[in-house]
């Protein structure tokens, strides 16, 4: 610390801007430290792809439309025996119509059901393991005796176990992740 300079300014006066600059510099340092983690986290969050007003969507090279989302009691346990869900469980069925330029090469998807409270349910509920349910993966279901897709149009059917009294409002379809981000399309029935 030297004495006053030629203009008569003391140490504090000479360095005032440097001291002020310390605050934003510190903020910048902290931000730089967390920036990559923050960006990684943001890119990992699922991103909703747009869907049209009639409830259909163009996504992953397919045209997708939700045609049914309702409770069902029609599941079978075997070829002849009906499936009775556990007490307090209601089975919901979502039917999605898919138009594909080449059904053989349609990408596989995962289907998640969204209830009124915003909770999500998947197609692998333990409560349905004893029921015969088709694989809900957006691909033509020809193995289980379903009809071969006509003119690139077919349906995929997903089943979900919900507590009785809970309403389903929509389904979310995702086809894996692209450039880190998981994109999904949300389909609901047109009102």
């Amino acid at each position: 610390m030297r004495g006053p300079d030629s203009l008569g300014r003391g140490w504090w006066r000479r360095n005032v801007w440097g001291l002020v600059a310390v605050v934003p510099a510190l903020a910048l340092m902290v931000y730089a430290g967390v920036y990559s983690d923050l960006e990684y986290w943001q890119r990992g969050r699922p991103v909703q792809a747009p869907s049209a007003a009639d409830g259909s969507a163009e996504f992953a090279g397919l045209r997708l439309r939700l045609v049914e989302l309702a409770p069902t009691t029609e599941l079978k346990r075997s070829a002849t025996a009906a499936f009775v869900p556990p007490e307090g469980v209601t089975v919901w069925r979502a039917v999605i119509e898919i138009e594909s330029p080449d059904p053989e090469k349609s990408p596989g998807c995962t289907i998640v059901l969204e209830d009124r409270a915003g909770n999500r349910h998947d197609t692998e509920a333990q409560e349905l393991t004893k029921a015969r349910v088709p694989l809900a993966n957006c691909r033509p279901d020809t193995d289980s005796g379903g009809p071969a897709p006509v003119s690139g149009r077919y349906r995929t059917v997903a089943h979900f176990a919900l507590a009785t009294g809970v309403d389903a409002v929509a389904v979310r379809l995702s086809f894996g992740s692209f450039d880190l981000a998981v994109r999904y399309v949300r389909l609901s029935l047109p009102r």
Binding site: P86, E87, G88, V89, V112, D115, G118, N119, R120, H121, D122, E124, A125, Q126, E127, F160, A161, L162, A163, V166
Partner: protein, 191 residues
């Protein structure tokens, strides 16, 4: 005077270095930074983690377990905890359950028989809680002061939630004096 100023500069630098070292030492180490988020709660109540909720509904100890036709002995004592597990907003699997004793040792559930409830074998849907019992072997001397640990992560519990519930275990010596095999409740829908 010049010598005094040099000495002053030297002391100032030494002080700054010491302060830097002190700040570095005072900040938590990497393991502490990455530790799980402990969610502590009482026995018999729902303890809510990031993606699941767990309630320790009952606890007992036993000298032997009866699994199917097999009797499983232990050099210590079996701690059998009845759990009620539920998902929060999306399906979840519980993959870790353990107890921690007073000395900080952590005993995971035994793999001497299948424990689907806490080994990721049950996919829990929101609104459809499940219950069942888990069995953990601990040295008899440790049984008096145990905390239950439950997480949805399998081995890497870093920066994710972990439920911590103190277990009221009593009568260890009585059980060991009169060993009688006890059955472990398999997972089922919670009532």
């Amino acid at each position: 005077m010049k010598l005094l100023r040099r000495l002053g500069s030297f002391l100032l630098i030494a002080a700054v270095l010491a302060a830097g070292q002190a700040v570095g030492d005072a900040t938590p180490d990497r393991n502490h930074q990455l530790r799980p988020f402990a969610v502590a709660g009482d026995f018999g109540t729902d303890v809510v983690g990031r993606d699941f909720a767990v309630r320790a509904a009952a606890v007992r100890c036993a000298a032997q377990l009866k699994i199917g036709d097999e009797i499983l002995e232990t050099q210590g004592v079996w701690i059998v905890v009845k759990l009620r597990l539920s998902a929060r907003t999306e399906p979840v699997r519980i993959r870790y359950a353990a107890v921690r004793d007073a000395s900080g040792r952590i005993y995971e559930t035994t793999d001497r028989f299948e424990q689907y409830l806490v080994s990721g074998g049950r996919n829990i849907q929101p609104g459809l809680p499940i219950e069942g019992e888990v069995a953990i072997e601990v040295p008899a001397a440790s049984a008096g002061d145990l905390t239950l640990l439950v997480a949805s992560t399998y081995v890497d519990h870093r920066v994710d939630s972990m439920a911590e519930i103190p277990l009221p275990v009593s009568d260890v010596s009585g059980v060991l004096a009169n060993p009688a095999p006890t059955e472990v409740l398999a997972p089922r829908a919670a009532s």
